[in-house]
């Protein structure tokens, strides 16, 4: 097995763990943790592909850096949304948040 394949299998493990978590967790915070797991797997896959093949290595590293920045922005917003939901519904269970208001 080539080194790139090994790295991509590790990234795949992280993606699958995140996918399992996001479909099985009951609270919004648990789902947020799973999303971070999946984003990190994607970053690992990008860097491995850029560093071990003749592709543009600088682009790969900078792309992963941007993914990290977006993950930080996403975590900030989700934190605010979770706080609002906890204040309004008294719980962060995803099944409880089921009313819409126009």
């Amino acid at each position: 097995m080539s080194p790139l394949t090994l790295y991509q299998l590790v990234a795949l493990i992280m993606l699958l763990a995140g996918l399992f978590g996001i479909s099985q967790r009951k609270t919004l915070v648990g789902m947020l943790i799973s999303v971070e797991l999946m984003l990190n797997g994607a970053g690992l896959s990008i860097v491995a592909a850029a560093q071990l093949t003749p592709a543009n290595a600088m682009l790969g590293q900078l792309g992963t850096l941007f993914v990290m920045g977006l993950a930080a922005a996403e975590a900030t917003l989700v934190l605010a949304i979770i706080v609002v939901i906890a204040r309004r519904f008294g719980t962060t269970k995803s099944s409880a948040v089921s009313t819409l208001k126009g």
Binding site: L4, I33, N40
Partner: protein, 169 residues
């Protein structure tokens, strides 16, 4: 040296595996966060093995330093105590469906990875930090500026969302 790298790869893979299993299966959200942090540190080690030291340090600084503290704040602010809302195990149907999704996606992707190997070298290329900085200011300057705008907007949006209106309501 070759063997040392293989041992390090195995250790990091083990850390990532145990960490991600803990992160998605722990009953208490704080323990799940500990699993997530272990996974992030394992990925930082992988970045070191891939000869991208700068990314490994950024991983520790941004993810372990900032994002996990944010999620800890989310856990504290929502009062999800240790034996909290994740304590009751999920219904069987949900577990079966989640496993089905994981099996399908994992099967397709691992089949793709294993049957279509890409020619790759075992020695990662070296990109100096200087080149990364020049890239951020040169050809990828627009993306760099846009990500700062995105961060600013998300910060302002978070403040606006979480703001408690005292007057009026």
């Amino acid at each position: 040296m070759e063997q040392l790298a293989q041992i390090a790869f195995g250790v990091y893979t083990l850390i990532i595996l145990c960490g991600s299993v803990l992160a998605v299966s722990a009953k208490s959200l704080v323990r799940a966060m500990v699993g997530l942090i272990a996974t992030l540190l394992g990925v930082a080690g992988m970045y070191m093995l891939l000869n991208s030291t700068f990314l490994a340090l950024m991983q520790i600084l941004i993810y372990v330093g900032a994002v996990s503290v944010l999620i800890f704040f989310a856990i504290m602010l929502t009062r999800a105590d240790a034996g909290g809302e994740e304590a009751a195990s999920a219904p069987l149907r949900q577990n079966v469906l989640a496993l089905l999704a994981v099996t399908v996606v994992g099967g397709v992707l691992s089949w793709l990875i294993l049957t279509r190997p890409v020619v790759s070298s075992g020695v990662p290329v070296e990109v100096s930090i200087e080149k990364l900085g020049l890239g951020l200011l040169g050809p990828y300057g627009l993306a760099f500026e846009l990500i700062s705008v995105v961060l600013l907007v998300s910060m302002a949006g978070a403040v606006l969302l979480a703001w408690e209106r005292r007057i009026g309501k």
